[in-house]
Each structure stands twice: as C-alpha cells, then as structure tokens.
Amino acid sequence: MEDINSDLKYTPTTCPYCGVGCGLNLVSKGNTLVGVEPYKRSPINEGKLCPKGATCWETVQKPGRLTTPLIKKGDKFEEASWDEAIDLITKKFSEVHKQGGPKALGFHTSCRTVNEDCYALQKWARVAFQTNNVDNCARICHGPSVAGLSLSFGSGAATNTFEDVLNSDLIVMWGSNAVEAHPLAGRRVMQAKQKGIPIVVVDPRLSPTARLADKWIRFTPSTHIALANNMMYYIIKEGLEDKEYIKERTKGFEDLKKTVEKYADATNIHGVPQETVQEFARQYANAKNAVIIYCLGITELTTGTDNVRSMGNLALLTGNVGRPGVGVNPLRGQNNVQGACDMGAYPNVFSGYQAVAVPENRAKMEKAWGMKAGSLPDWYGVTLTEQITQCGDPIKAMYILGLNPVVSYPDSNHVRRSLEKLDFLVIQDIYWTESCEYADVVLPGTCFAEKDGTFTSGERRVNRVRKAVDGPGESKYDWEIIGMLAKKMGLSGFDWKTAKDVWDDMRSVTPGQFGVTYEKMEKPESVHWPCPTIEHPGTPILHVGKFAAADGKGTMFGLEYHPPAEVADAEYPYTLMTGRCIFHYHTRTQTDRSPTLHNDVPENYMQINTLDAKELGIRPYEKVKVTSRRGESIAVARVTDDVAPKVLYMPMHFVHGANDLTNTALDPLSKMPELKHCAVKVEKITEA
C-alpha cells in the first residue's frame, strides 16, 4: 500500500542545538529530508526558530556522513563490518580492563545526543568495566552549575522555566548572551521588555543581549564574586535583605555577612562605579520578584562554582527562590546537557543524581542491573578533561560518543598530544571530525533526525525527538551500538528494541523521572522533572516551600574573590574572552555544512576595541595573529567599541581558533577549565 506520507511528511521533533529545546517540524519526502517548517503548537517557541534551528535539516543528509564502521590498519582507515568492529572493541577494552583495571578506561558521552544514548553508555561502562570514569561535556559548560546550585539549593538544575521571566519584576542577565546563545530564551526576555519589565545585563561586552537592557553594567572580565559581594554589602548595610525568608528557609547568613563586609568598595577589582553597584543592589533587593539568568560567563572560570554560588547567595539573601517570577536559571548550552547529567553519565552519580558513594544506591543499581553485590565502584571517577590528561597513564583505552575534543576541549595541542598516547580509541559520531584522526575505530551513529529519543532542555522539560528518516548506510542508533557491545560481552540488560525500552530501563532506576513516560511526552507541553509518579504533573518551579537539599534549607556562603589563573601581563597584555555567535554551534561539525550559516560566518573572527586597533594599526576585517602561552590563532579583526580596551572576544567555534589559546587551569570544585579567560598578545600579520 502506498504510504500517504511519501509525498510530504511532517515530523514534530526537538531542535538539536541549544538547551532551549524548541519544537520544529522536519519535512520529508520518503526517506529524504526536504526542510524544516514551524511547529507553532510548541509552547516553548511557538514555531519561531533561530538561524541554526531553521537550517538544522540542511546538515543531515550531506556528503561526509559516516556510513560504515572504520578500522585503522597501519596508517589508513578501512571499511569494516559491524561484527569485525564490535569484536575488536570488546576484545581491546576487555584486555585493557584485565591488565589495568577500571581506571585504565575512559568514557565520554555527548550532551548533543539523546538521553537514551547517554544512559546506555554509562550503563555499559559501569556494568561491563565497573568504572566511574564516565563523564559528559557538561563538564566544560555547566559543571559548575551542577556543583554550585547543588551546594546552594540542593539541586543542580534551573529553578524556573524560560517563559516564567514574564512573571518577573526585574530580570538580571549575568554573563549570558541569550540572544545569540539561546535565542528563543532571549525571545522571552524581548517579550518581557515589551511588557515593561526592567532588564539589567551584567557583561563585560556590549552583546546583542546587552543592547536589550534598560541598564547594561560593564565590568572587568571574571570579577563576578567581587561585584556580587559588593552588591550584597549594600543590601545588608541598608537592611534590604529578606529577613523572614533568611530565617525560615536558609542558613549561612552570618558567614556571608562577614565576608561581604570586606567588599564595601571593590571598584578597583570589578571596575563598576560604586553608585552603579549601590543602585543595582537596591533595584535587585527591592524588586518584588527578581530572576537571575546566567550562563557560561559565570561558569567557565577557575572560580566557576563559587561564581554560581554567588548568584545563589544574591537570590537567597533577597528571598528570590521558590515561586513564579524569581529564581536562578543557568541557560544550559547544549540541547541535552541537562539530560546527559540526569542520565548518570557523570563520574560520581548514577541517573537522577544518586551518589555512587552511597552504599544503598550501589546496592540498588547492582540489583537492577543484575550485577554481583559489591561490584559497582564507590570512587569518584575521573572527569572529562582530567581523563585527557591521564591518557597513557593510567588511561589506555577511551570511548568517545559524539564529541570532538581536538576542537572543543581547552588547549587543543595538549588534547592532540594526549590522544596520541592512548593504546586504543573508539569514536562514535555522525561525521568524520578532527578527532577521528586519533581513533583506532570510528563507528557511524545516527543524528537527531534519524532516531527516536528525548532531549531534556534547560528548564528540565523532557522533549521528544522523533525519527523522520533513516540514517545513512549501515549507521545504527547509538544506544543500539552500545547494546551490541554489551551483548557481545555476554551481558544481560542491554536487550533494548526501541528507544522507549532504554528510557523505561532508566525510569525504573530513577525516582525523580519515574513519572516521565513517553505517553506523557506526546504533547509538546511534555513534563518537567522531578516527576516521581505516573500521576504527578511534573515540577516547572523548584524549591517551592522547601529546598531540595537534605535539610530543606538554602545555603549562603561567604566567598572570596580570586583572580583568574592567568591574567594579562607585559608579555601577553590582552584579556581574551570567548563565547558563541548565533550562526554556529560548537565545533561547526554540523553548522558549517549549512550553506546559509557558512555564508554568514565562514571563518574565525575576533572583536577588538577601536583604540587597540588604532594603536596596533589594525584595519577592520584585517586578519591578525593572536598568541597565548599555549598556541596561536588567526582571526579576522572586527573593530568595535562593544569590547573594552585591552579586552578581546573570540567565538569558540573554529579549528585553530579560540581553543588553541585557552587555558586548562581548573576550577577545584567542578574541574571546569578556564575557557573564558586567558592572556594573549595581538600582532599584525606582516606579509612575507
């Protein structure tokens, strides 16, 4: 019988790019994708899309997709059968495990792929090799949010929904350029502005988001804690703190008070005039409902976790958590960065943040996964970038699902050197990436348009991903590949037939998501976790009445300002900040294959202040050389006053771009590398 959809089929699904989780319709004819059309029924974006979402289909069925397993023989990669590849991988991983134990293996999963894949990979790592060396790329975007917000509120996730900003009386955007990085969350702020809700943007750069602001506060890069403490000094001094809330719902006030007293005037650190700090402090404290939205400007620093806790401090001090219109909301970078963490692809927790250190949790998982009692490890696994550093010793074999570390991890030269030290590297991806050069086996997975599954957005909403077309060649669902590996090793509990089977496997061991069923995700409203039972409606707003922490309290911390690990000096006199631009996503593996997006930004660029450009004799759009202690990069100069003198901004998307310059120094609490701040010098390129 003729398929009535062979002419034209709309598949409602979720955008594969940022953590907003916009709905869109993939349009296909038979097995060919032909476009994206608005999904106006989605409550998240109402059919509206950003340049990336609108073009996401363009990159799916392009040449260059991986279509068959590849095995490196000598210097060359040769096509191989699935049997051959699966045999080789299980053999090698088992050997390494036998010789070096669980710490000789490393597993990385992507926040770009569906929850089902993330759950499958961590389950295989833990069941087959009893290792906690499993992590995901949240480590290099919102690891500090998970750590910081857990310490402050007892849950590492955003407290309120994107749309909830429309219930606020004041919106503070701190280190977030939502208009470019999370455009459809940015749209909510635009709507709020049209409603007359005041917007304060705290950013060293006049970003497109800062242009929306009623008040833009430019401060010295990476001095968040000094600025927040300075504000809290005024709030306490003027008695504007929410005394009842502090008493009823929080602890740690005295600790905080003692610390912020030292920040009566911190202009010499953060560069903001005291009148502005005082005025902002009053505005925030006096607003009936104030929300803080923050992003990687806060997290990607060696003080990342403390920066996040400073946002928590501000909100707790003024009673701004636990009802509509308030809260502290990290805008999660990737489509499934919330989900990858939720799934337990994390070195210290199982799915739903059940700590591996707790014996009852291990016992429960051992039982559910059919393992011998006492076999799951209790130790804190090695984190993402630390695993790179451990390549060769003790990590000998590594499995990377959907990441491109050579471009996206800090200090690319270090990453390249490290990967070379591995005995065996498997990369499972959809395209041949720069990192594949270092692999021994490359496996073809499927992308968002080719599989069913779920992405969990930054507002903890679990959104359905629906298959529109088949994957290319012999590619397979990514969870299916993991299942094949596990079954080859004779393991049970990996016999999933559909993505829903994987999801239900996860649900059965994850109390906070037990009620999030595929049936409830049919409508685009879907469900916000926590949702512990089938009857439970889900939880759009966290910490209502009681914090998620064990004692039910929010915690304030006295936190000192520390400068970044590397600051500008005589030799490297410029501060380099990094970030996103709206036209590209991460390492451009997908976005650069879209003609539309490539046309807008084909190559690396850097914003430099007018005065600096004049001093160096740099003309607009001239190519310049930027050098740090770790490497160098060529960039087109965009001469602008959007950045302050001696401060530069480079997007993070390009090969031999920002990450050839960035610093690997880590935040001690979350192991976040300092991607947002390093010292560089800038030179004109002289013709030979």
Binding site: E2, I4, N5, D7, L8, Y10, P12, V27, K29, V34, G35, E37, P38, K40, R41, S42, P43, N45, E46, G47, K48, L49, C50, P51, G53, A54, V179, E180, P183, L184, G186, R187, M190, Q191, Q194, P208, R211, L212, E522, K523, P524, C581, I582, F583, T596, N599, D600, V601, P602, Y605, R638
Partner: protein, 417 residues
C-alpha cells in the same frame, strides 16, 4: 449546469463524509469527486495533528483519507501556497486541489505571477475565513479567559462574532472583540484582513448565508470560475453532491456578514496604522523594532512574495554577513522587494523570533503603495509596478549570456549544481 456567479447551497450524499464533516460536507465531497475523476492528482489540505490546536498539512491521493481533513481548525495558521512552491515543485507536474483561506488564495496568485506556481495545475476551493488564532495563544486564552483546561476542549468555532469552545462538561462563547481587547484572539494580520470570501478561488464556500431548513446542514457555494463550475457539476452528476439555489435572504445575510467583517478590518487597520505614526516617526519605530532581528531569515523563508535563488540580504555588498545587530539594509531590502505585493498573510510576524511586527510594517507600506499606484495584490494576475521597471544591467547580462533566466521558475528550472 452551473456557471460563474451562481450561488448555491450544497451538501453531500456520501455517508462516510456525512459522519465526519461539518456543514453538509460539501467541500470534502467535491474533493472526493475531484480525486476519483482524476480532475486532480492530489488534494492538499489540513488535518489535526496532536490535537485540535495543531494543524498539519497533508497531501492526499486516496479519497479514503479525505474525511480526516474535514472541519475547520481556527488554529491552523499555515500558508499553503508557499508549501506548494517549496515542496511540490510549484505544481509543475502535478494537478493539486487546495482548500484555501483568503491569504492562501492571494499567495497563490502572487507566486503564480512570479512563475513559482503553475496555476493551471491548481484547483482552489476557498473557504470563508474570519481569522485564525495561533495555537499557543488559543490555549492560553482558553485557560485564562474561559477558565477551561485546553486539553478538555474537543471543538472550537467562530460564529456570530464569538469564539466558541465545546469541552467536557459544556460550551462557552466569548466575543472576539472582548478577547482581542485583552490581547488574545486572532492574529493581528487577520484582524486587519479584508479578504473574507476568497472569490479568486474556483469555488468560494462557507457557512455564511445558509438559513432555513438547511442551516448547519449545507455549505454556501459561490461559483467563481469555469473550472469551479465544471467541478461542481461533475460532483452533482456523480451523485456525491446535492445542491439547491441559495435562499435570497441568505445571500443578503452573507453580504452583511462580509460587510461587517470589512468594517472590523478597517477599524483594526486604523488602530494599527495610526499607532505606527507617520514619516520619520514611523521610520524610527520600524528601525527600533527591527534592531532586535537575529537574522534567522524565517521572514523570507515563509514569505509568499520571496522566491529569489540568491537573496539580496545574503549579498555582502548590501548586508555585512555574520553580524548582530543586523544592518538595517536587511529590512530595507525586504520592504523594497515585497511591500508592493504584500498580501498580509502574517507569516513573517508569526515566525519572528525577535517579536518584530513584520507583517504590520509591510502591510502598512502596502496600503500606502496601493493608494499611490492602485495596484491590488493577490486578486488576479496583474503584475506589480516594479515588474515593469527596466533594468539595463540585467538586460545587458541576459543579452550577453543569451539566457532568459533572471530567476528560476517552475517551467524552466536551473539545473541542480
């Protein structure tokens, strides 16, 4: 035999269609006949997706699939013509029957003028449209203004100036005026719309003017073309459709309803355009609002006037690529290319991620241009003023290359690279 200008009541004799369809099921029955008689290869219509707030376009070849397209969905804010251009090669090789609202019909003509749709292969059944409501707005409106859980609603309609819902446990109507005062209701372009009965379609159908014993059981049909007349006669002859002459009183009522709609459209035009100010004030307002643009290109993607293979907004000479905020030239290019032919379909505004009232800006300019040059877009095949402009350079290029290809068109596509 019917002819252009006939006014009829029509209803179906087909038992299957009767079960599902509203107002006698005339439109569904005519499509059934069209498919079975091969008058069309496929029918392009709208069906319910996940619920009644979700309108999904479907291309139907088997008449058995037709009943699921029956009934109206006021949350269906699709623009069918652009989809025919994008996904059906502009009906180059396929005869397609399409159910159209006023804006769809206008868009078909504008795309046909630009050789992006082969109108000879299109059969249009127009349906009266008092306006449509964006799905998410509709759900909020039902929750906030009706106090009803939108999940429990199984039917919605706009009748006698009211938006009426039927839900588990009752039905409720609130006047559209009241809803719109409160910021809900129809899309703003729909409020300004004056294309309520799409007579440029082959048949114009609806429930306005159906009175007496046939009220609620038949559809009012105005025959608007020879093609429409033939289709109607064929369906009657085949026995799937029955007709009778429309009640003259009903005809009068239909005219009154349309007149009232025009008046309301004029009221909203005055309201919206006056708020824009004039001259420099208007320019300033447009510049301020468009400064939020995030360059998603979706206003271009959905626009029934846009069709260029290489959009001028992507030419670095005019708009510096890769930069936000977007240079205002981006929007000036759109105004200069589109404003004379804008049909106020509202798509550009509905999909705008930066909440820019694009349709309002464009429509306001179109109305001014219409006053100046008398060109009315979307009603016939008359070309806009710009089409007559001589472009010396372009002519030279054509001369030099020996090509007549200014633009790709459905009759003469550029070979794929």
């Amino acid at each position: 035999m019917s002819k252009k200008g006939d006014m009829l009541y029509a209803w179906t004799n087909d038992a299957e269609i009767q079960k599902k369809a509203e107002l006698g099921g005339a439109v569904t029955a005519i499509w059934k006949y069209a498919l079975e008689s091969k008058a069309v290869d496929a029918v392009f219509a709208v069906t319910k997706g996940v619920d009644l707030y979700d309108a999904v376009p479907v291309l139907i070849r088997d008449p058995k699939d037709l009943p699921k397209t029956a009934g109206s969905l006021h949350c269906g804010t699709l623009l069918m013509a652009k989809l025919v251009k994008k996904y059906m090669d502009g009906a180059r090789d396929m005869k397609i029957g399409v159910t159209v609202k006023g804006c769809d019909a206008m868009a078909f003509y504008e795309l046909a003028k630009r050789k992006q749709i082969n109108l000879d292969n299109i059969v249009m059944i127009g349906v009266n449209c008092g306006g449509s409501v964006s799905p998410v707005v509709a759900r909020k409106m039902i929750a906030d203004k009706y106090g009803v859980d939108p999940e429990t609603v199984h039917k919605e309609e706009i009748d006698k100036g009211q938006f009426i819902i039927e839900y588990e446990g009752g039905h409720k109507g609130i006047s559209v005026d009241e809803l719109e005062e409160a910021g809900y209701g129809r899309r703003s372009n729909c409020r300004r719309c004056k294309m309520k009965i799409p007579r440029q379609a082959d048949l114009a159908c609806g429930n306005w003017g159906v009175i007496g014993p046939k009220a609620g059981k038949a559809t009012f049909v105005e025959v608007c073309s020879e093609k429409g007349a033939a289709l109607l006669d064929g369906a009657v002859k085949k026995g799937v459709l029955a007709t009778e002459a429309a009640n003259p009183k009903g005809l009068e009522i239909r005219g009154k309803v349309e007149g009232a709609m025009f008046k309301l459209g004029d009221k909203w035009r005055k309201h919206d355009f006056e708020a824009l100010g004039e001259g420099k004030d208007r320019l300033k307002k447009i510049m301020t609002e468009t400064s939020r643009c995030i360059k998603c290109y979706q206003c271009i993607e959905v626009c029934p006037i846009c069709y260029c293979v290489d959009c001028t907004t992507k030419n670095p000479t005019f708009v510096p690529p890769g930069e936000l905020p977007v240079n205002f030239m981006f929007h000036l290019i759109r105004y200069s290319h589109i404003a004379d032919s804008c049909v106020n379909c509202g798509q550009c505004e509905e999909v705008c991620a930066a909440e820019i009232p694009n349709a309002l800006f464009m429509h306001a300019q179109q109305v001014e241009l219409e006053k100046m040059f008398g060109h009315i877009p979307g009603v016939d095949m008359e070309l806009p003023l710009m089409a007559y402009a001589e472009e010396k350079e372009e002519r030279q290029r054509l001369h030099n290359t020996g090509s007549d290809m200014i633009y790709e068109n459905v009759f003469n596509p550029v070979p794929k690279k």
